[in-house]
């Protein structure tokens, strides 16, 4: 399937130099789909399980979850996460979910 990108969706949305959204509260599912399309990701239901978990974590804790947290608390095995988001699941899932780059702690 071909991915269609509608650039208008991203009008007025601010991104940092690495392509992470500056204000996570500007995010909508349509924006998520558009960011995913730019990253050449075709979002399946399983991707949305991850995105919804990541958004919920942001709502609860104010930051993106670590890879281990997505696996252990979100219930999606690490191997599958790499199939869904091959270029680094924690980072790419945060990007598609409109969150800042995960800090990976200290």
């Amino acid at each position: 399937m071909t991915l269609t990108i509608n650039p208008e969706v991203l009008e007025g949305i601010e991104f940092d130099e690495e392509g992470f959204m500056v204000d996570a509260d500007d995010w909508t599912p349509t924006i998520g789909e558009t960011i995913a399309a730019i990253l050449e990701l075709d979002l399946t239901e399983r991707h949305w399980d991850v995105i919804n978990f990541v958004r919920q974590e942001y709502a609860d804790k104010g930051e993106a979850p670590t890879l281990r947290r997505i696996t252990k608390v979100g219930g999606i095995p690490t191997k599958e996460l790499y199939q869904l988001f091959p270029d680094g699941p924690a980072k790419i899932a945060a990007k598609v979910s409109g969150l800042a780059k995960p800090t990976g702690c200290i």
Partner: protein
């Protein structure tokens, strides 16, 4: 009689026991300290064991030497914490202890079994950790007779205890193999889940350059999925492979198992903690010191030390019904041993990354921040004495708890 119960007699718990025994009225308060074993390890010293700078005897002392006489010290595993009931069950004779205040100082520990294939065939043959005295000692024996090859050091996942230790290990390895005259036969590789040498950009750039200058190769964003010890290969989740002759791992770090059993921790068994007051987020009579909590700063002894004054003050304020002070700023400082009798010192907190300058006296030092110097090396070597004789006993150190910008070049 009221009870202050402290779980864990490592760096944090021992310091709290010493300080609180000075502050609390012995007619009103009983202080109990519990730990599962008798031996106190000077953990920063583990790093030096593989290179025969320290022997295992150099890093151990009996815990009892550091426990004040008015503190009851119990050696036992902890079976369960019941924070709703304000009580803890010990493994020893299944004894229950009721507490009025609880300090959790149960630390973090390495879990190599979290990675597929890690503890199979090659474990302690050509796969070692250096975060336990057993691992560091076994690695020391291996290195003594090693003829060279590819040494791969891998950080499994963050957070880890002392995030600079893996870099120090490589700097020391570079020095050690040079001294032994086989540096040209050893390839040094750092495979890290981070996107560079360290978590903070300015220090990462400087430390990254040092790795490069010492001929140490970095494989960034490497999230290890499995170890195949029959082929001597580590494989990342995104299917990159690195061959090794010697694999040194920094395994997954997790909080104590009792934290998980008691349902008090996050996915790594670290306890959700207010990062400025050090009070538990869920129970107001529980405070957390050191690496048992989830505060986003280094899991290192220096941090436990900087937490100490804030935690002691806040626990006393809470006992008096006063509001807590949000004064812990995430202050950490680390001597980074860089080999050839030199070292680097970094000093940082939640908001300010490590910067160059002089420490602790602005303009004078004697230590240089984010720069190699012999004084920094000697500072690190002398620190072991300071740790045993001053720090653990809750004595005064010439450093402030809160980070200062004086003498730094922003």
């Amino acid at each position: 009689m009221k009870t202050l119960l402290i779980l864990g007699a490592g760096t944090g718990g021992t310091m709290v026991a010493n300080k609180m025994s000075e502050h609390l009225d012995a007619n009103e308060w009983k202080i109990i300290l519990v730990d599962k074993d008798e031996t106190h390890y000077y953990q920063p010293g583990f790093l030096f064991i593989p290179f025969e700078i320290y022997s295992p005897q150099d890093v151990v002392k009996p815990k009892r030497d550091f426990v004040p006489p008015n503190v009851e010290f119990i050696i036992s595993d902890i079976e369960m914490i019941e924070p709703e009931q304000n009580r803890v069950k010990l493994a020893k004779r299944s004894k229950w202890i009721d507490y009025d205040y609880l300090v959790v100082a149960t630390g973090s520990h390495v879990h190599p079994e979290e990675t597929e294939g890690m503890v199979n065939g090659g474990w302690y043959k050509n796969i070692f950790d250096f975060y336990t005295v057993e691992g560091a000692t076994a690695l020391s024996r291996f290195l003594k007779f090693w003829k060279g090859g590819r040494l791969v050091l891998n950080i499994t996942e963050m957070p880890i205890k002392c995030p600079v230790a893996p870099l120090e290990f490589l700097f020391l390895a570079d020095w050690y193999f040079t001294e032994r005259g086989i540096r040209d036969k050893v390839e040094l590789v750092l495979a890290t889940p981070l996107d560079g040498a360290f978590t903070k950009p300015r220090a990462s750039a400087i430390l990254g350059n040092m790795l490069e200058n010492k001929g140490i190769y970095i494989e960034p964003e490497f999230n290890i999925g499995e170890v195949d010890s029959s082929k001597q290969v580590i494989r990342s989740y995104d299917e990159r492979e690195i061959d090794y002759d010697l694999f040194v791992t920094v395994p997954t770090n997790m909080g104590a198992e009792v934290i998980e059993r008691s349902g008090m921790g996050d996915e790594l068994n670290f306890i959700p903690t207010d990062k400025h007051t050090l009070q538990s987020k869920n129970w107001e009579n529980i405070f957390i010191i050191g690496d048992a909590g989830d505060v986003p700063t280094s899991k290192a002894g220096s941090v436990a030390h900087f937490m100490l004054d804030v935690l002691i003050e806040n626990m006393q304020r809470h006992m008096e019904g006063l509001e807590l002070r949000s004064t812990f700023d995430g202050h950490a400082n680390c001597f980074i041993e860089s080999g050839f009798e030199k070292g680097i010192l970094i000093d940082f907190n939640y908001d300010v990354e490590p910067l160059p300058g002089k420490y602790p006296l602005p303009g004078f030092g004697p230590f240089s921040l984010l720069q190699e110097s012999p004084a920094n090396h000697w500072g690190k070597m002398i620190f072991r004495w300071t740790y045993w004789n001053v720090l653990l006993k809750g004595g005064e150190m010439p450093f402030e708890s809160q980070m200062s910008m004086a003498g730094k070049w922003a």
